[in-house]
Symmetry: C2
Subunit: 232 residues, 2 copies
């Protein structure tokens, strides 16, 4: 069992939030796999707390769609189907487009500067070839754009939707041939925002999502095939 599955006591939060963050992280990184049962006493012992904060954390994960409740049987990690992912991406496509459009109107000069830096950093990161570094730079870049909208609700929703695909992030970055596409897509978005060209920015954002979709769906089909082969 992985060793990063522990409570982070540095945090000065109610236990339920610590547990919530811990479990969520474990699910998104794939440490807790789809279909796996979340048993309260088990988790409580493992995390060194009582069942109460565990239960409260599960209630939040339930609403977030990361776990599904089965009556009288408890929680299990939500299955990701191809359909559910397409649903998520369909929504993200619209919201990401909205995001860059709003960013065109509202981005400050400071944020423009930060965006430029993040773009350069991303290009550097791809040069290293290290997947973790690239993923980090990618998140940083998107974060700046999302925050530039100034719309709290939008920020929250996009973050939540992005999370649903976190498990596939690594594969998706590895998958992209030489990362050149990725760099270009980012640069296109970045430049459109600087120019304040909403239409172009939205189109670039949609293209970006579409390419991710291709790559992730391919990944899912691969995984499913492997699972089927295993069963036989």
């Amino acid at each position: 069992m992985g060793d990063n599955f522990t409570v982070n006591m540095d945090e000065f939060l109610p236990l339920r939030d610590v547990v919530f963050n811990t479990l969520r992280r474990a699910i998104l990184t794939g440490e807790l796999k789809p279909g796996e049962r979340l048993m309260e006493i088990h988790l409580a012992n493992r995390l060194g707390v009582s069942r109460t904060p565990i239960r409260e954390a599960i209630r939040k994960l339930e609403l977030e769609g990361l776990v599904t409740m089965i009556p009288r049987r408890g929680a299990e990690v939500a299955q990701i189907t191809e359909k559910s992912l397409q649903d998520v991406l369909e929504v993200r496509r619209a919201l990401d487009a909205l995001c860059v459009e709003l960013a065109c109107d509202r981005i400050t000069s400071d944020e423009k500067e930060a965006l430029k830096n993040a773009c350069d950093e991303f290009e550097k990161a791809t040069a290293t070839g290290d997947v973790t570094t690239i993923a980090g730079a990618d998140v940083a870049l998107h974060d700046i754009i999302v925050r530039a909208t100034g719309n709290q609700r939008l920020i929250q929703l996009i973050n939540n939707l992005s999370e649903q695909m976190y498990r596939y992030r690594f594969e998706y970055i590895k998958d992209e041939k030489g990362h050149d596409n990725l760099v270009n897509e980012h640069r296109m978005i970045y430049e459109s925002i600087l120019q304040g060209d909403k239409e172009k920015a939205a189109e670039a954002a949609r293209l970006h999502i579409d390419n991710q979709e291709q790559s992730i769906i391919r990944q899912i089909r691969l995984e499913r095939e492997q699972q089927l082969r295993k069963k036989k």
Copy 2:
């Protein structure tokens, strides 16, 4: 205190879900007012359950944004500010447009029939002038469109965002001059979907939201003025 603030024992659900639905309803109808504290023992006594299900329900409301947690002080009903509502509407505008676009592509002939009926029903409802009836017909109409997308995630998100504005629904329906606008807007959306004209449908949906925004914002400003006057 209102008397529809009771648990509905007909439901065959865990108490936490019954409590969740009850509290949510109370918040959305305005029975629990923004800023009002949600005290656990108090609620527990009132609903005739222990604190545990109350707490679990509050965790879900917290994630849904209907209550805000203050550390070591508990939950209170979330304040609705003009900004937060504009944020919500900005997102809904994009998602409603997406909705009707998808509906154009995916609506079945059965659903077309249902849509036509709902549209007629709405027109009849406006004729009665009864706000509750109109609101009901409005929800029914929108529901059909949203469900026609076949996108579970989108359905869930739109429902959640709509809820945030439930408190203002009545005022907004009353506000619309003679309801003629409302009927026309609906008919425009309905016809565009039947014709499969995505562009027109999206534009109509956006207009529909924009008009609601106008009306709701006006309402909020009115309320705020009244509050200010009270304080003096």
